[in-house]
């Protein structure tokens, strides 16, 4: 529909957001539609284990508030998306619980570190369980789609509560390993009122 706008080749996605454009949204929606297809499921135990370790490491880094290491798991041009409806509508016309590009993700971390983020002062303590990891092939060999279930136990405000749902990760090859290009976090109660949704999921 739109010709791409000037996208300075040297633009730093931590400082300016050129990549979140209409083509990007359409591709994102396409990548997260109809991907959980048995015909594309990867059965190889070694491959599944590789990605299971990636997801377990992500959960551990977030539990330990190691945000720089966590951010380094993401591609430079990435998306962290928590839809506000179970069917995850078009983010161009539906408010999301969270829809962060690289810069906003770094904003999120920056805010938590200001010392004045009262919703996280003191910070929640979390323990994340990641399970039911499935790997799906993508149209491109340079990408995979991962589905996992999560259960986050969060201690905050003198109470422990549970946040749960499933996540879809799109990972892309980066050198010998993989980077997370997009993470869609589907809370089972994403369309309901949530108390203090201020941790990174």
């Amino acid at each position: 529909m739109n010709a791409p706008a000037t996208n300075p080749k040297d633009s730093d996605p931590s400082r300016s957001s050129y990549y979140v454009n209409d083509a990007f949204y359409r591709e994102l929606i396409g990548n997260f539609t109809g991907w959980q297809d048995d015909a594309r499921a990867v059965a190889d135990a070694a491959v599944r284990d590789e990605f299971r370790r990636l997801l377990e490491r992500e959960a551990r880094l977030l539990d330990q508030l190691r945000y720089d290491d966590w951010l380094a798991m993401y591609a430079a041009e990435c998306i962290y998306w928590v839809p506000s409806t179970p069917q995850a509508g078009d983010p161009r016309r539906e408010i999301a619980v969270m829809f962060d590009d690289r810069r906003r993700l770094e904003d999120r971390v920056y805010r938590l570190r200001t010392g004045f983020a009262w919703s996280q002062a003191p910070a929640s303590r979390t323990v994340r369980l990641v399970s039911n990891v499935e790997v799906f092939a993508s149209a491109s060999d340079a990408a995979r789609m991962l589905r996992s279930n999560f259960l986050i136990s969060e201690f905050w405000g003198n109470e422990t509560r549970v946040l749960t749902g499933w996540a879809g990760h799109r990972v892309v090859r980066a050198g010998a390993g993989w980077k997370i290009q997009a993470k869609q976090v589907n809370l089972i109660d994403c369309d309901q009122c949530i108390r203090n949704p201020s941790i990174i999921l």
Binding site: M1, N2, A3, A5, T6, N7, S11, R15, S16, S17, Y18, Y19, V20, N21, D22, F24, Y25, S84, T85, G89, P91, R92, R93, E94, I95, A96, V97, M98, F99, D100, D101, R103, R104, D107, R108, Y110, R111, L112, T114, G115, F116, A117, W118, S119, A121, G157, D191, Q192, C193, I194, R195, N196, P197, S198
Partner: protein, 459 residues
């Protein structure tokens, strides 16, 4: 002709107004902790405030077609807000007239009738009882209107915003809104065709009294402190070009922004005078949002100088318009407070998008909305979370029984600070608590009166 049934307290119940001396609990400069913590006071509020005055229920864009419905609450009453088969908007009690079961358990949908899942009583979306299983088991005629669903007797819209009240003597909605209607008009009319459409929400729950949210709605005093993490974050690259709400950081009372009380508990905080009055003046203040550099460049390429007016449509309108007790327009959001109990409240930030009025074209509208979704997610994520953490901590603090008062006297008695206008409205600097003193006068007026409350049923 709709039948009205007067609402009266259950017989044998002592007059709830004898509960407290309301003038003692709410004084000119301070309010007693009990109004935030006492379940008995909350119970009175659920009829005299949420029932006694106009309460926001829904936006017409949420039920655009005949037979659309959405489930909401008026106070604690579960409602089905419907656009019935004849396109009339109604607020039906979501309560079977047989045993009290909720009829509809879905958040939204489209239905001509609602059948009770318990014994199968079936109601049209006008509220009329359509039939019951095996009616010959009843000695009487089940067409008696008393078996039709209860409904909110007065449901009125102001430019798409649907409000309801049980109070037969309440002023018509537009008169009740009074001077704030003009500010609502301005909020709407900056959008193409003067319209917005609700598009999902950022939804919060907090363990605190609902009034803590309304007390915050016009508060310019808390911003620099409660939102310090937001102000620091949105300005981390800003240099000399302060972004977002940075105008709150240094002596906000010297800024041209102001608050105005307009009556009936309604008030607004107007930060628009802080902006440069030019196309793009609003956009210039926006902090970082996903896609903003792309869309700005793209709009300039496509539309030239017109781009700035379009970018302003994705900018957050700097005004907080608050209609007592549960409704705010702020930025581009419709914020709604839903009391759940004396110590628990939902605060829902409905997002809005613009629609093409024929002047912009579909491509421009798609892109404006793509940007407008992202600007709207900023404050709930990085600002509201800290406010509600503070509301919860107020509720904790107010558990200290002997320390009884909360103060709202900022600006009171300071010569020349507050202006009272001929039309009864009141203007004060942005950090003044005049808005709170005034909405508590309305709260007290509502709490003192039993009102002429009724429910309606189809004949």
């Amino acid at each position: 002709m709709t039948a009205f049934e007067k609402v009266a307290p259950p017989q044998g119940r002592l007059d709830v107004t004898a509960l407290y001396d309301w003038d003692y609990l709410v004084q000119e400069d301070r309010a007693h902790r009990l109004i935030y913590t006492d379940p008995a006071i909350f119970e009175v509020e659920m009829t005299r405030v949420f029932g006694g005055t106009w309460t926001y229920l829904a936006h017409e864009s949420e039920i655009p077609n005949a037979n659309d419905f959405i489930t909401r609450r008026l106070g604690l009453r579960p409602l089905i807000v419907v656009r019935d088969t004849a396109n009339k908007i109604r607020a039906l009690y979501n309560r079977c007239t047989h045993r009290g079961t909720t009829l509809c358990r879905w958040d939204k949908g489209n239905a001509k009738s609602f059948q009770c899942p318990y014994h199968g009583w079936n109601f049209l979306n006008t509220g009329k009882l359509r039939g019951v299983p095996w009616p010959d088991g009843y000695a009487e005629d089940m067409r008696d209107p008393k078996y039709n669903l209860a409904q909110v007797p007065r449901v009125e819209s102001y430019r798409g915003f649907i409000f309801g009240t049980l109070n037969l003597d309440a002023l018509p909605l537009a008169e009740h809104l009074g001077p704030i209607a003009q500010i609502i008009d301005e909020w709407l009319d900056r959008n193409p065709g003067g319209k917005v459409v609700v598009c999902e929400a950022n939804r919060f729950r907090f363990k605190g009294n609902w009034k803590l949210a309304y007390d915050n709605s016009c508060d310019g005093y808390h911003v620099a402190y409660s939102h310090r993490s937001l102000l620091e974050t949105e300005n981390r690259f800003a240099g000399a070009n302060a972004k977002g709400m940075a105008y709150y950081r240094n002596s906000p009372d010297t800024q041209p922004m102001y608050m105005r009380y307009t009556g009936h508990g309604n008030h607004f905080k107007d930060k628009r005078p802080n902006l440069e009055k030019r196309p793009g003046g609003l956009w210039a203040l926006e902090s970082a949002h996903p896609g903003m550099e792309h869309y700005e460049a793209e709009f300039l390429r496509r539309y030239g100088e017109r781009a700035f007016a379009l970018l302003d449509l994705a900018g957050s309108e700097p005004v907080n318009i608050n209609v007592f007790p549960n409704f705010s327009l702020l930025g581009n959001h419709i914020q709604v407070f839903e009391p759940l109990s004396v110590g628990e409240t939902n605060a829902i930030w409905y997002g809005t998008m613009v629609v093409d009025d024929g002047t912009l074209g579909e491509a421009a509208v798609t892109d404006i909305n793509a940007l407008r979704m992202r600007t709207q997610e900023g404050f709930p994520n990085f600002g509201e979370v800290d406010d509600i953490a503070n509301f919860e901590q107020i509720q904790c603090g107010l558990m200290a029984v002997e320390d009884e008062w909360v103060y709202m006297h900022r600006g009171l008695g300071v010569p020349g600070r507050i202006q009272r206008h001929d039309d009864g409205t009141i203007t004060a600097p942005a950090t003044d608590e005049a808005f709170m003193r005034e909405h508590f006068k309305e709260w007290k007026r509502l709490m003192k009166s039993p009102h002429n409350l009724a429910i309606a049923r189809e004949p």
